[in-house]
């Protein structure tokens, strides 16, 4: 298969970037999207050009490192997959593919298609944890949790923090990510004790970092490779409202 690639090239965070067009030939249809970029990079290196920088790690859809905004969609045209799980058979021979980095003020471009997603780490540091020493691995039945609660928490915890929600949102809002992280702790007894402090701290950090506001477009949910539901956003709003209204007077 042959493709025309329009790839965003940017030397560093400060440089002005531009799109560069590459033609790539003889790509197998069972080639993954990232393998296709590897092939392109090998060709660029052979020619003495700079290879295209892009994020990748596990290449099996669980680490959340790969990104890429492909033809107007984060992680490309397939639903519920990351870019590393996308294959070239999903495209037609001769297609033009536009590849852009995640666009958000809170995710500055490091180089080419790589963006700095430290903002997500900062949100987690603000409250996405339980501040007790959990010790060794506890017995599975030490704290009994109803199946439906465990499932809700697990579905939220499936978030891999890739940032596709921010990339897809027309407001570059991080609400789906933050709400998933708030939810998976808030529905479990271990996380309940600090739920009120947590949701306020994480929302405050999210705002401070310059993410946009949620307008309930549902784009995040549609593009999330782990299919995190916007029900989590409603839960976070509920938690937040309860925390603000129910806050006791400070002694």
């Amino acid at each position: 298969m042959n493709f025309t690639l329009k790839i965003w090239r940017q030397k560093n965070a400060k440089a002005k970037g531009k799109f560069v067009t590459y033609n790539i030939e003889n790509i197998s249809e069972s080639c993954s999207f990232l393998e296709m970029l590897d092939i392109l990079n090998n060709q660029l290196i052979e020619k003495g050009d700079d290879p295209v920088s892009f994020d990748h790690d596990c290449r099996e859809g669980i680490c959340g490192t790969c990104s890429l905004y492909i033809n107007g969609r984060p992680h490309g045209p397939d639903d519920a997959v990351t870019t590393c799980q996308l294959h070239m058979r999903r495209f037609k021979d001769g297609d033009t593919i536009v590849i852009e980095p995640w666009r958000s003020g809170a995710f500055p471009v490091i180089r080419d298609l790589m963006v700095d997603r430290k903002a997500f780490d900062k949100i987690i540091q603000a409250g996405g944890f339980i501040s007790v020493n959990t010790g060794g691995i506890p017995d599975a039945n030490a704290i009994l949790i109803p199946k439906d609660k465990a499932d809700t928490a697990m579905d939220a915890a499936a978030c891999i923090g890739c940032g596709a929600c921010v990339a897809a949102c027309k407001n570059a809002s991080a609400m789906l990510f933050v709400s998933a992280k708030v939810s998976h702790l808030a529905v479990l007894p271990q996380g309940k004790a600090e739920a009120s402090r947590r949701v306020q701290a994480m929302v405050a950090k999210m705002d401070e970092l310059g993410f946009g506001n949620c307008t309930n477009t549902g784009a995040c949910e549609a593009e999330c490779p782990k299919q995190i539901s916007i029900d989590n956003i409603a839960r976070m709003n509920r938690e937040f409202l309860g925390a603000k209204l129910g806050a006791q007077k400070q002694k």
């Binding site: 329009k6 965003w8 799109f19 905004y69 033809n71 107007g72 969609r73 984060p74 536009v98 852009e100 666009r103 958000s104 003020g105 809170a106 897809a168 027309k170 407001n171 570059a172 809002s173 929302v203 405050a204 999210m206 705002d207 310059g210 993410f211 946009g212 506001n213 949620c214 307008t215 309930n216 477009t217 549902g218 784009a219 949910e221 549609a222 593009e223 916007i230 029900d231 956003i233 409603a234 839960r235 976070m236 709003n237 509920r238 938690e239 937040f240 409202l241 603000k244």
Partner: protein, 221 residues
């Protein structure tokens, strides 16, 4: 003033926005129920009675403060949030996304701005006339809203503009209704489908109810 608004968290702003919006949604039903009296063929007697009540009753006059407050909050917060949203993505995509599930949700600021412009025209046509800031049409008493509405709706240009505006309002409400509940965190496996259905019905029925009136004046009367 905007600094004060910026201080509040995004979620607080959205919650206030949705509460103000829901209040306006309730107000629209009130407004429509009075407007529909224009359709009664009694030369506006019932309509004028309702108008008289709405402009003189002390409780209604007191509630007017909240109504203007609701409008103001909804509009100012809408603008503040939108500016922040634009700032959150300083470099735009070459290929704009089409991931949005809800079409109308993308155009809330645009439909909102159109409704705002209409609101100003609406005030000039009615509320400011009542206050005496704007002169009523010749030979019409400044409290005679029936005559004023009749004159406006008999104007083809205004009537068509009004109908188009109601379609825009419908687009705005279609997303607004269910979105308000989502922002308030009122999401439930049992009730959310019903809220979405009611929101869709509301966003069709209410603007349609308003739009029928100029069409009646234009085509039948």
């Amino acid at each position: 003033m905007s600094n004060k608004f910026l201080k509040y968290s995004s979620v607080t702003k959205k919650i206030v926005m949705s509460l103000a919006g829901l209040f306006l949604i309730v107000f629209l039903v009130m407004h429509l129920s009075i407007n529909l009296l224009l359709l009664k063929s009694d030369d506006g007697a019932a309509y004028m009675q309702a108008v008289h009540f709405m402009t003189t009753n002390p409780i209604v006059k007191f509630m007017e403060i909240f109504l203007f407050g609701g409008f103001l909050l909804h509009i100012i917060l809408g603008i503040v949030l939108q500016i922040q949203n634009w700032q959150a993505r300083p470099v735009r995509y070459k290929v704009e996304g089409f991931s949005q599930k809800s079409f109308f949700s993308k155009y809330m600021i645009h439909t909102g701005a159109i409704i705002f412009v209409f609101l100003i025209i609406h005030f000039i046509n009615f509320y400011f006339v009542k206050l005496g800031w704007v002169n009523p049409p010749e030979g019409v008493d400044k409290h005679d809203f029936y005559q004023m509405a009749g004159i406006l709706f008999s104007n083809h240009f205004y009537a068509i503009l009004y109908v188009i505006l109601m379609i825009v309002l419908g687009f705005h409400l279609n997303h607004a209704f269910q979105s308000a509940f989502q922002s308030l965190g009122l999401n439930h496996t049992k009730y959310t489908p019903a809220i979405k259905a009611i929101g869709t019905i509301y966003s069709i029925v209410v603007p349609l109810g308003f739009a029928i009136i100029p069409l009646y004046f234009l085509l039948i009367k």
